[in-house]
């Protein structure tokens, strides 16, 4: 029973961490941009976490704001819509403040199905129509065709660095435990033993004294 609960909790944590990384790390799509525009958008409580925080450049207001969007189509003819907002300076750590320029580049890369121009859109985030959230486009780069293969080197490096950082933290904690906490616990243990021994000595002397009041066995 407890084993199952423990495994369940572990699985939940792993899933949450994986989802968090999948949302935050950059991804690249090969798409053809079909339209770029601004739309007055109301951000609700259920999806505000997936929009720019109110203090970053393009987000003028908490609730209703004018957001730039980029509409695109994938090689398999399925559509995708990106938003294009500044990220601000804390999270996610893209430090993006050139949304207007990016929008201009995206508009420049618009093409029709008759004369397609393919681009790679670097972005983070998810498209979830149910709660109206959009991935945030970070970069638009022209590519030769829809068949280019992209290797996520950057993500490999980031994940490796995160792993090394965790190992480092683990080692630091282990060292602190071994060199600081354990000796302190030992000292406390020693002190308790000493007090115990001294109490034993006192008790022996006290019971000896008590015994001295006993009469000598009669002959």
């Amino acid at each position: 029973m407890w084993r199952k609960i423990k495994w369940g909790l572990g699985l939940l944590v792993v899933t949450l961490v994986a989802a968090f990384l999948h949302y935050t790390l950059p991804q690249r799509d090969v798409v053809r941009i079909t339209n770029t525009y601004n739309r007055l958008t109301t951000v609700g409580t259920e999806n505000s976490w997936a929009y720019a925080s109110p203090d970053s450049g393009t987000a003028e207001s908490v609730q209703t704001r004018d957001i730039r969007f980029i509409e695109a189509i994938r090689p398999n003819n399925r559509v995708i819509v990106y938003r294009n907002e500044d990220t601000g300076w804390v999270w996610p750590p893209y430090f993006k403040y050139d949304s207007s320029n990016l929008q201009a580049e995206a508009s420049n890369a618009r093409s029709t199905s008759a004369a397609p121009e393919w681009v790679v859109v670097t972005h983070y985030g998810w498209r979830v129509p149910l709660i109206s959230i959009y991935p945030n486009a970070v970069k638009v780069t022209p590519v030769s065709g829809p068949d280019v293969s992209l290797i996520p080197w950057l993500n490999m490096v980031i994940l490796l660095a995160l792993g090394l950082f965790l190992v480092m933290l683990w080692r630091m904690l282990a060292q602190f435990h071994e060199r600081t906490i354990d000796p302190a616990l030992d000292r406390i243990g020693d002190t308790i033993d000493e007090v115990d021994a001294r109490a034993d000595g006192l008790w022996a002397r006290f019971s000896g004294w008590l015994n001295s009041w006993k009469g000598k066995p009669r002959r």
Binding site: D55, S56, Y94, F95, K96, Y97, R171, Q175, F176
Partner: protein
């Protein structure tokens, strides 16, 4: 712009804290190594003096200076990210 300043200040405070934690860790590892080397035997002289001398050497070593990478790596990362995202 205010956001950038706030990020810089809080980031710097975090890095300073992390720098001190890593320094303490590195020093502790060094001391442990010295203790074990002395206790393994074959070293002449007083234990405390041996460790004190080893720690003095460590304070000037390359390994101690490499801890400055705690500042360098995140700052370079942020700088490169800002450049790649906004200026290319």
């Amino acid at each position: 712009m205010i956001g950038a300043f706030r990020f810089a200040i809080f980031g710097l405070i975090l890095l300073i804290i992390f720098y001190f934690l890593v320094s303490i860790y590195s020093r502790s590892v060094q001391r442990e190594t010295l203790e074990k080397r002395f206790d393994a035997g074959g070293v002449e002289g007083d234990r405390d003096a041996y460790i004190a001398q080893g720690m003095a050497v460590y304070e000037k070593s390359l390994r101690k200076r490499l801890i400055w990478l705690v500042f360098v790596i995140p700052m370079v990362f942020v700088g490169v990210t800002v450049y790649l995202v906004n200026y290319q």
